[in-house]
């Protein structure tokens, strides 16, 4: 017996995810989306999901197939505007009132996830102080400036994308592929990474960009 986090399909790993789960999805600007895993989650058919993803509408992200399948109850993001003039699936459901939206400054979005993974239940941030996004939130003054209290976001599941994985769950990232993945991996109970390739041999310490400690399963899907 030895540690080996590599899997050949996501179905079994996802079984424990229930209706109403909170799911973090990495990715930014076309890079770092775990689209194979998102598709597997869609196929699982769970409903009333809370999706934590930077964009609710990115055209290259499969986040939209969860929304189109009406599996999403709420989205927490920093960007919820579709690119086209016509409304995106998210915008349609949001406008119809069937999907809830919590929109955040992107740094607050990232830091709330980091807090979730770092044991910080709440922190103060200057971002959004004095704007509509701070309405209803606790404001506190430090050194003559107003800050907004923000709480940690934790999740039941994070689906992230890496480049190379090893049996320990260690990951590398290519280009700007990391983005929200490392943060999300620290903040979710179950973390599955899809990667270009997954190897038995351990990555050398100098190449590991996310410790396998944070990753439960690694699925090789190719697609570099």
């Amino acid at each position: 017996m030895a540690i080996d986090k590599r899997i050949t399909a996501a179905t079994e790993a996802l079984q424990g995810i229930k209706d109403g789960a909170t799911v973090m999805l990495s990715g930014f600007g076309g890079s770092g989306f775990a689209n194979t895993l998102i598709t597997a989650l869609r196929d699982l058919g769970r409903r009333d999901l809370t999706v934590v993803a930077n964009s609710a509408t990115h055209p290259l992200a499969k986040t939209q197939i969860l929304i189109e399948a009406k599996q999403v109850r709420k989205v927490i993001c920093s960007a919820a505007r579709g690119r086209g003039k016509e409304l995106s699936a998210f915008e349609e459901q949001w406008k119809a009132g069937t999907i809830e939206l919590e929109v955040l400054a992107q740094g607050t979005f990232a830091e709330r996830i980091r807090a979730g993974g770092a044991g910080i239940p709440a922190f103060y941030t200057p971002s959004a102080a004095g704007t509509d996004l701070a309405k209803g939130k606790e404001i506190r003054r430090f050194n003559g400036r107003d800050y907004v209290l923000e709480t940690a976001i934790e999740a039941d599941l994070a689906l992230i994308r890496g480049d190379i994985g090893d049996r320990f769950g260690n990951l590398t990232f290519r280009g700007s592929q990391a983005n929200f993945g490392p943060g999300m991996a620290t903040a979710a109970k179950l973390v599955i990474a899809e990667v270009f390739t997954a190897q038995q041999d351990a990555l050398p310490p100098d190449r590991v960009m996310l410790s396998g400690v944070f990753v439960d399963h690694v699925l090789a899907v190719g697609g570099r």
């Binding site: 930014f28 600007g29 076309g30 890079s31 770092g32 930077n54 609710a56 509408t57 920093s78 960007a79 919820a80 505007r81 579709g82 409304l87 995106s88 998210f90 915008e91 949001w94 406008k95 939206l101 929109v103 955040l104 400054a105 992107q106 740094g107 607050t108 990232a110 830091e111 996830i113 980091r114 941030t125 200057p126 971002s127 959004a128 102080a129 004095g130 704007t131 509509d132 996004l133 480049d163 990232f173 290519r174 280009g175 700007s176 592929q177 990391a178 983005n179 929200f180 993945g181 490392p182 943060g183 570099r224």
Partner: protein, 227 residues
């Protein structure tokens, strides 16, 4: 009287970026600035998705969908650059490490208030992105925008009418008509386009302007408007 086109506005702002600065460029006109930095001046461009030292756009053969900037454009990493994750990137931004953020805007008020995220498009979802973090925490917030709306209304105002991105943050504004600073006394004009009078600029502005004693003219090179 030649209003600056968008490339010329980007050019003008780029002239003020200094060697060694860490600079974040917003979507639209701001990102165009990187190509107009005076030759030999090394600037570190930060893209909020984690590229610290963003290089030029990737050529067709080098384009890599895994390496993008905050505008989803396929780019390169400059010599001396590194890629970090979003948590670390926004820690850098919020921690006040960005020397200058150049942002687009809908409105700027005489007290430095910035409105650049919500133009109230009916039904479309909100798009906040990284602007609130950048505006709240960069050492200097500079804005590039048209001096007036498409209908001719002012964008430089006593008070913003649109939802704020951050209060009291804008230090400079580069428009197609002028270069202005924002201070305790509101807007001060430092440069105007050739042929425009102070009275004409004031008439196009929704807040009282002060003109710097050494107020000069913008001498932009001819640049084709690429957009």
């Amino acid at each position: 009287m030649g209003k600056l086109n968008r490339q010329q506005m980007a050019w003008r702002a780029a002239q003020d970026l200094q060697e060694g600065m860490l600079v974040n460029l917003g979507l639209g006109m701001p990102v165009a600035c990187s190509q107009y930095v005076p030759h030999g001046r090394e600037i570190v461009f930060q893209s909020e998705n984690g590229v610290i030292g963003a290089g030029p756009l990737a050529g067709k053969n080098a384009a890599d969908p895994d390496l993008v900037d905050a505008g989803s454009r396929q780019i390169t990493v400059a010599v001396g650059g590194v890629v970090i994750d979003s948590v670390a990137s926004f820690a850098m931004i919020r921690g006040g490490h960005i020397d200058v953020t150049l942002l687009g805007a809908f409105e700027v008020a005489a007290n430095g208030d910035l409105a650049n995220w919500d133009s109230r498009i009916p039904d479309k979802g909100p798009l906040v992105g990284g602007a609130m973090d950048l505006a709240a925490s960069a050492k200097a917030v500079w804005v590039i925008m048209e001096h007036t709306t498409r209908k001719g209304g002012p964008r430089l105002l006593d008070q913003c009418s649109l939802p704020l991105t951050a209060p009291h943050c804008v230090k400079r504004v580069y428009t197609n008509l002028a270069v202005l600073s924002v201070g305790p006394d509101g807007f001060t004009v430092h440069e105007i386009i050739p042929g425009m009078s102070q009275a004409e600029l004031q008439a196009a502005t929704g807040a009282k302007l002060t003109f710097a004693p050494d107020c000069g003219t913008i001498n932009a090179p001819d640049l084709a408007d690429e957009e």
